[in-house]
Amino acid sequence: MSGKTLYDKLWEDHVVFTEDDGSSLIYIDRHLVHEVTSPQAFESLRLAGRKPWRQSRNLAVADHNVPTVDRDKGIADPVSRLQVETLDNNCAEFGITEFAMTDARQGIVHVIGPEQGATLPGMTVVCGDSHTSTHGAFGALAFGIGTSEVEHVLATQCLTQKKAKNLLIKVNGHSGAGVSAKDIVLAIIGKIGTAGGNGYTIEFAGTAIRALSMEGRMTVCNMAIEAGARAGLIAVDEVTIDYCRNRPYAPKGEHQFMAERLWQKLHSDDDAVFDKVMDLDAASIKPQVTWGTSPELVVPIDKKIPDPALEPDAVKRQGMRRALEYMDLKAGQAIIDITLDKVFIGSCTNSRIEDLRAAAAVAKGKKLADNIKLALVVPGSGLVKRQAEAEGLDKIFMAAGFEWREPGCSMCLAMNADRLEEGERCASTSNRNFEGRQGYGGRTHLVSPAMAAAAAIAGHFVDISSVLEGRQS
């Protein structure tokens, strides 16, 4: 019999029982909760007279609606305010731990989970949010769920699921200067498309993945959902275990010893069989920039915008044309010629300390270009913010003309006051470039933090890899 994949192991470890039709009740170790997708779930729970099955496995935070300035003044928009207050009240009523808006630990749900050690290897982690795939970086089975499922997890600590197929994506070799985890995952999405991972759990492997820090691994798994997979995974190694040590919710003492011994087994067996395998050479990956309204419409920085006329598939061709029109771009235009209005450094994809360091290294001693109306840096959590300030990164950003904000989702989805105006063009470190995502009529280009910072300084996209190589030689 052949060996097991990491996904097989995690799945089997959590099955409570399996029905004749193949659907299984699986046990959930960690449930993260935020304000947007939870109110109806709590309401139903209340109406049915049910209680959370295990209060302690839930951790809540408000992130989508929170303002990134003047927090002490509260939330101005009444609809947003009510959603956040509702979360506060629900958590109080049901005895669920919540990091309130004014708590130093508050931040984007996918940043605070790992930061607190609430996400650990070998767990099942769910949240009413598609980017829950982020937590798979820890060798945890993590995926987003809907509001009815949020209620289901609250009430039963379980979910009914069918097992997905196994996809292995190996990124071999070493990536060049200025090529980050974001560029790796954008290149993968460019290659397999936004539906490429449909029906699969993706395991990311290979030397280039192993070489990433936990922050970088989270960036890669974060965008597994943009590749069509509900969950992404990376095997546990010393980097994972080191990261988890001494986090507030991580096991201590004898439990820590036991846990770490178990976690070391969380990798696919050598003879494991995957349903599909894909290889990518890291050395061939350049910094990436999306030009369209889907993350798969992406090209390397040194390339031109592709011509829809050369696309053989009629549906894709049509999609490319619509995207060019919405983005106000032309086929054949060089990416470096695209000028920008705003820059956003933040989101659950790229708002961790390493991301801010990379951006600050580029911005240090420079000034924003005159055409940049606004450049926001929004740390992923209060603790990331504090760490960055201790390292002086806030000073670097502000001296260059960036705004240094309070943590939250911010302009990733523009549910708070941070947004693009109609027609504005933005270099963004977030994960979705859909029409109107960052504000009605706004135009989003997804890039890495270093690329976003470089674009803010130059006023247009620049090839950060050639800048860095020039610096080294």
Partner: protein
Amino acid sequence: MRAFTKITALVAPLDRANVDTDAIIPKQFLKSIRRAGFGPYLFDEWRYLDHGEPDMDCTHRPVNKDFVLNKPEYQGAEILLTRENFGCGSSREHAPWALEDFGFRAIIAPSFADIFYNNCFKNGLLPIALNAQIVDSLFKELVEGYRLTIDLETQKITTPGGKSIGFDIDENRKYRLLNGLDDIALSLKHADKIRAYEAERSKRAPWLFAD
């Protein structure tokens, strides 16, 4: 979820075809953070003469006296009799939430929109599709105080005149509705299995059960 076994209840006739979910519950109410409390806004644009907004107190709003649900003789109706393609339009689960919250238990029509039909079962509402001629005859014989008996177990509707009308329903859905089982209730039937799993797992991974 409330179980549905057998009811004898007042019938309200809504003599329109293609009633869409935006008519059942207009889009401005989707901003709500709640799943309950949509009843006062059910058919908002038909029921009231002013424009409704979420959280509005409906007790003082000007009502459309001609709308069927505002008529005194239909107060307390639990069965809605209507025409084909009821619940078409968007997939909003707010539509069955509003009907259920208002007090309806069953809807009889010649046909229903697919998604709406599915959503009903998740919320304890019984949608019954009957042949258009039978629906038409019910409309015709409906007089003040008209009550129907709906027995889900035997899949039969009985008219005040004693006539019996059979209806079809998927076995699995019938079972869930008869027992008031939503997905959560079904999972909770396996509570002992979940506990056994927890007991076993806590030996392997005690740090997950330390609190």
